[in-house]
Structures are given as structure tokens and as C-alpha cells.
């Protein structure tokens, strides 16, 4: 009896470091955020009071919030499928016999290794009017100069292009690992049976890559809602909120306007959003995916 209790104590002690970290940095902030979103922001004159769902009502009436949500939707639609498709294509290419294969693989992975701020600075140069790379290219073909990041109609596309460039190389690594675990005899068996490369990809390779695709898809979607660092350097969400995304909007609310209650409300909405997405993906796809 005594020994069993001792074993329990040991067990909990072993769990303690991980549990403390998890509670302190994940569970407590989540609960606190939800709690805070039900209170008004404290000012020097008025202390924080319970306001129920008032913050959520204000959110629903905020046109900027809806624009940000819309931006984020298009941002996700623009980046996720494109970066996944590109990642598969690159992985297939560097998985084959290829001179200088290691070099190509490394080149693809470089955008992931670079610090986000450095990446944003490089692309800032690309997009600069008159002297930027993009404008130089356009000029070479006789086009006129354009302020890519200053125009609400092009700014989001510019951010999307840069994000695809950055994400695809990272996702490629996962696909490459998955491809290398697939026996080359499967391709040979399909070839002997008369399957074309496309048929083999569609019926064999792609289904076998589905577990990787699900993993990458979830990561890509979460990343699409987490993008914030590039916006600091490139646009600060502008012009006219045309490139403002959810997380940046939360940052603005919390640290520019010091409206902590509104930031908490936004965060709660974002969290709910991500949770619903992750859960629904697993329920939607899990049954149809073959895990080895």
C-alpha cells in the first residue's frame, strides 16, 4: 500500500515539469483569454467590469474585423493549395535522379531557414516601385511602374506570392521524406501493368501521400492564420487594411490601441476558428486516408 502511494508520487513528480509548462503557457492563457473577453478594458477612470457578450457584439459590428476575416480567407485560399501543389512538384523532382540533387534540395529549403524579417526585407526590395526587381522586369517588357505594396488591389496578392515561396520549400521536406519511404517497386509494378506516370501519381502516389498532405494542410492553414511578422516590415496591414490579417489585427488592438478586452475577444474567435478547422479536418479526412 505504502509502495503504491510512493509510485503515484513519483509518477506525478515526473509529470510535473511538463504539466507546469503546459498549464502555464497553454491552458491558463487560453482560459484567461476567454475570461477576459467577457470584461471591459480597464482604464484609469473606469475599472474593468463584466459586460457579458458585449465585446462579441462590438466585434460583429466592426467593419474592419469583417474585412480582416475576408482578407484572411483569401489569403488562405491563395496560399494553401498553391504551396502544397508546389511542394509536391518540387519533392517529386528532387526525389528523382538528378545531378546536384543535394544542392537543389538545399536551395528549396533556404526560404524556411531564413529569418522571417530578412525574408520580408528581400521581398520589400522586389516590390519597391521604380528600383525594385519586379518593376525592373515590368519595365523591361515595356510596362509602367507600379506601387505593388501601396495599391489595395495588389498588396494581398504580393503577400500571398511571398508566403507561397516561403512555405513550399518547408512542406517539400515532408513530402520528400514520405516519397523516400515508398518502395520503388510499386512504381515498377505499375509500369509493367502499363500505367502512365500521371496514372501512377493519381492512383498510387497521391493516395499514399495523403497522411503527409493532411499534416501539411493543417499546418498550412494554421500558418495562414498566424502570419504576422511579414506585415510589420512590408505593409503594417495597409493600405486601408487591404493586407490586414487576423493576428496582426489582434496585435494592433492589444499593443497599439491597448484595447486588451477587444484583443482577447478577437483571440477567442481566432482560437475557436482554428479548433473547428483542425477537428473537422481530422473527422473529414481521417477515414479516407490510408495510414501504413
Amino acid at each position: 500500500m505504502h509502495e503504491r502511494r510512493l509510485a503515484h508520487v513519483y509518477g506525478w513528480l515526473l509529470l510535473l515539469p511538463a504539466a507546469v509548462l503546459l498549464v502555464a503557457f497553454t491552458h491558463y492563457p487560453t482560459v484567461a483569454t476567454l475570461y477576459d473577453s467577457l470584461f471591459s478594458t480597464a482604464t484609469r477612470l473606469r475599472p474593468s467590469t463584466f459586460v457579458g457578450l458585449d465585446n462579441y457584439r462590438a466585434l460583429g459590428a466592426d467593419p474592419v474585423f469583417w474585412q480582416v476575416v475576408q482578407n484572411n480567407f483569401w489569403f488562405a485560399v491563395g496560399t494553401v493549395p498553391a504551396s502544397i501543389a508546389l511542394a509536391i512538384a518540387m519533392a517529386l523532382w528532387v526525389n528523382g535522379r538528378l545531378p546536384g540533387r543535394a544542392l537543389v534540395r538545399m536551395a528549396y529549403f533556404t526560404p524556411t531557414v531564413l529569418p522571417m524579417i530578412a525574408v520580408a526585407n528581400i521581398w520589400l526590395f522586389f516590390y519597391t516601385p521604380e528600383i525594385g526587381l519586379l518593376d525592373k522586369l515590368v519595365a523591361a517588357f515595356g510596362g509602367s511602374s507600379h506601387n505593388w505594396l501601396g495599391d489595395p488591389s495588389t498588396v494581398l496578392t504580393c503577400i500571398i506570392a511571398m508566403t507561397i515561396w516561403k512555405e513550399a520549400g518547408f512542406f517539400m521536406i515532408f513530402y520528400l521524406a514520405a516519397l523516400q519511404s515508398i518502395s520503388p517497386e510499386l512504381r515498377e509494378a505499375a509500369t509493367v501493368e502499363g500505367a502512365s506516370r500521371w496514372y501512377y501519381f493519381r492512383r498510387i502516389l497521391f493516395p499514399l501521400l495523403m497522411p503527409t498532405t493532411l499534416f501539411v494542410l493543417i499546418n498550412a492553414l494554421i500558418n495562414a492564420f498566424k502570419l504576422v511578422d511579414h506585415l510589420f516590415i512590408l505593409t503594417k496591414g495597409g493600405p486601408d487594411n487591404a493586407s490586414n490579417l487576423l493576428l496582426y489585427y489582434i496585435y494592433e488592438a492589444a499593443f497599439s490601441f491597448f484595447d486588451t478586452a477587444y484583443a482577447a475577444t478577437l483571440t477567442a474567435v481566432l482560437l475557436g476558428f482554428l479548433a473547428v478547422m483542425a477537428v473537422s479536418q481530422f473527422f473529414l479526412f481521417d477515414r479516407r486516408i490510408h495510414y501504413r
Binding site: L186, E188, V192, E193, P207, L208, H290
Partner: protein, 357 residues
């Protein structure tokens, strides 16, 4: 008519000659085995027939048509892979009809053939399972079914039984051979297992370091091996190959005080005798020292020493314990083979003699 012909086919990878100028034919409806140790080029030869590799030199003909540069899909061959190469996400039925779907065979026809083939290989009732839910033997049957459903005249098999246990291997040997004869397929079968080769083949091509060492019917390879390599590769335990020393009028076993066994120069020749051709005699013969006894049930392999040379013999049943130590052995002159010591080739011009009676 020959279904498959290889004419002077080579496959070089840089300076490595995986297959080096080999030629052979497989008659239509016959069972041809490519036999050899690992790295002898037998799998590469098979892949050259399948079109998975392109030869460096030479020509490959299937059903009289030159297919040397044709892709695998145009050669009308089926293949069974060593790892089975089943598609893990498709169920058994889908795996089997994969090739038919590729070739857009109508669904009704697919279904009809699937039922027939599944019954033929004993897979009915398992068609909805995934490969991971099958045993090794069942997976083997799926791979087999996928190969025969196309109804191609030629079927290539790359060590299909090497992942099975001994009992199952025996059953599948019988089944594959029966299936081949029933369907009249031309089978080219790669293996390193000489028992598979001996029991299934109409003809064996024995390969060594990318070249054909010997080809012929199993009985011919066993009875008249063309080299010491062929002699030792076929038969278990392998043939005894003995070094010789000069004696009066010829050569005898090295280190043994005995008479003439071969009428040729001692240092240029080797003497080969199969363990099962040696018998224990009461008097006469050669003196041998028993070193170890390996009891197999139906027979016993006795390792002895004759002069300087180790010599194995096979006796039926149990080897009586009382007879350990010194024994006397003999064999018939016809059971002895003479090989060249340098090249290993068979030397017919010299004669072997039986030990004195």
C-alpha cells in the same frame, strides 16, 4: 517457337558488368529458372526482359518481336516482385484488377476475370481486405493473381518465395508450377535457391558474375555439371571438391596414402564427388576420419577427413554412434567428376577411378 530470346545482352553500370553478354531462349509455355548466387546478375537479366532496365548491348525478343527499346507496358509481360509490390491503400480486388483498369477493360469483364483468378489462386472471400491484413502467403497469392489476370503469355517472377517460411515455400512451389502448366504460361523465374530451381524448372540457366555458367535441364546440371562452381551450387550438401597429389600413374587425394583416382596431372585437376554418391564400405575403399555428424532425420550428413581434404557424405537414416572414428568409404567411377584446378571447367578427357574395392 521460342517465346523469349536474349541475344548477347549486356548491362553495364559504369565499370560494373551486372550482365555480361548473355544469350538464352525460353520456349513457349516452358518454365525457365535463372539461378545464381546474389550479385550474379539474375535479377538484372529479368528486369531487362521486363523493360525496367535498358541493355547496354544486345537484343531482347518476345514472341518473335524485337522489344529491346520498348517500354514495359508494350511488352505484354506480367511480373511478380520479391516484395510483392502490392499497393497498400487498395484492397485485394483493386490490386488484382489494377492493370485491367489501366487498360480500360470493361467493368463486367474485369469482374468476371477477377472471380476466376481469385478462385484459381485461392483468394475468394479475401477480396475486400487490405494487403496489410493478409499473411505472407496470401500476399504472395495476390501478387500472383495480379500477374495472371492480364492473361499475358509471359510471366516474370523475381524471387517470389524468398519472404515465405519453408513449409509455405514448398506449397507455393507446387502451386506455381501447377498454375504455369495449367495456363500454359512462359515463366522466367529468378531464384538463388537451387531446390526451387531443381523442382520447378524445365530449364535452368545458371549465372555467375553476369555470365551464363551452364544451362540445361535440371537433371543435366545435376548429373554433368560443366564446372566446379556449377557442381557446388546444385545439390545439398554441395559436391565435395578435392585437391589432388601425384601418385604412381596419376593422382590421388592430397595427403591420403591411397592409389590412383584420376589419370591426369595432380596439380592441374580437382576431383568432385557428390556426398550422396559416397557409401560406407566394410573393407577396401579409402580410410576416412569422422569429424562431425549432422543428423537430419531421413538421412545424416557425415563430415570426414580424407588425407588433407574434408569430405562430406550422406547416409540414410541415423549414423550409428559406434562407428565414429575411422571408417572406410567408396564410390563408383561413374560418380566421380574431374575439373580443371585453374578454370574450374569440366575435363572430360581424364578418367576417374573408383577407390580400390
Amino acid at each position: 517457337m521460342s517465346d523469349i530470346v536474349l541475344k548477347g545482352v549486356s548491362k553495364h553500370y559504369g565499370s560494373v558488368r551486372a550482365v555480361d553478354d548473355i544469350s538464352f531462349e525460353a520456349a513457349a509455355g516452358s518454365f525457365l529458372v535463372l539461378l545464381g548466387p546474389s550479385g550474379c546478375g539474375k535479377s538484372t537479366a529479368l528486369r531487362l526482359i521486363a523493360g525496367l532496365e535498358e541493355p547496354t548491348a544486345g537484343r531482347v525478343l518476345i514472341a518473335g518481336r524485337d522489344v529491346t527499346r520498348d517500354p514495359p507496358s508494350q511488352r505484354h509481360v506480367s511480373m511478380v516482385f520479391q516484395s510483392y509490390a502490392l499497393f497498400p491503400h487498395l484492397d485485394v480486388g483493386e490490386n488484382i484488377v489494377f492493370g485491367l483498369k489501366v487498360r480500360r477493360v470493361a467493368a463486367a469483364e474485369r469482374h468476371r476475370r477477377l472471380e476466376r483468378v481469385a478462385e484459381l489462386v485461392g483468394l475468394d472471400g479475401l477480396l475486400d481486405r487490405r494487403p496489410a491484413q493478409l499473411s505472407g502467403g496470401q500476399r504472395q497469392r495476390v501478387a500472383l493473381a495480379r500477374a495472371i489476370i492480364a492473361e499475358n503469355a509471359v510471366c516474370l517472377m523475381d524471387e517470389p518465395l524468398s519472404n515465405l517460411d519453408a513449409q509455405l515455400r514448398h506449397e507455393m512451389r507446387v502451386e506455381i508450377r501447377a498454375l504455369q502448366q495449367r495456363l500454359g504460361m512462359t515463366v522466367v523465374y529468378v531464384t538463388h535457391d537451387q531446390i526451387e530451381a531443381m523442382s520447378m524448372a524445365d530449364r535452368i540457366i545458371l549465372l555467375r558474375e553476369g555470365r551464363v555458367e551452364q544451362s540445361g535441364e535440371p537433371e543435366a546440371l545435376y548429373a554433368r555439371p560443366s564446372s566446379a562452381f556449377a557442381a557446388r551450387f546444385i545439390g545439398t550438401p554441395p559436391m565435395n571438391i578435392l585437391r589432388l597429389a601425384a601418385v604412381d600413374g596419376g593422382a590421388g587425394i592430397r595427403g591420403a596414402a591411397n592409389g590412383r583416382l584420376v589419370d591426369g596431372p595432380a596439380d592441374a585437376l580437382l576431383l568432385g564427388i557428390r556426398p550422396e554418391a559416397i557409401r560406407i564400405v566394410e573393407r577396401g575403399g579409402l580410410p576416412a576420419e569422422v569429424v562431425s555428424v549432422d543428423y537430419h532425420g531421413a538421412d545424416t550428413v557425415v563430415t570426414t577427413r580424407v588425407g588433407d581434404e574434408p569430405l562430406m557424405l550422406r547416409v540414410s537414416g541415423h549414423f550409428p554412434a559406434g562407428r565414429r572414428g575411422a571408417i572406410r568409404i567408396g564410390w563408383d567411377a561413374a560418380a566421380a567428376h574431374v575439373f580443371d584446378a585453374k578454370t574450374g571447367n569440366r575435363r572430360e578427357e581424364f578418367h576417374a577411378f573408383a577407390p580400390p574395392a
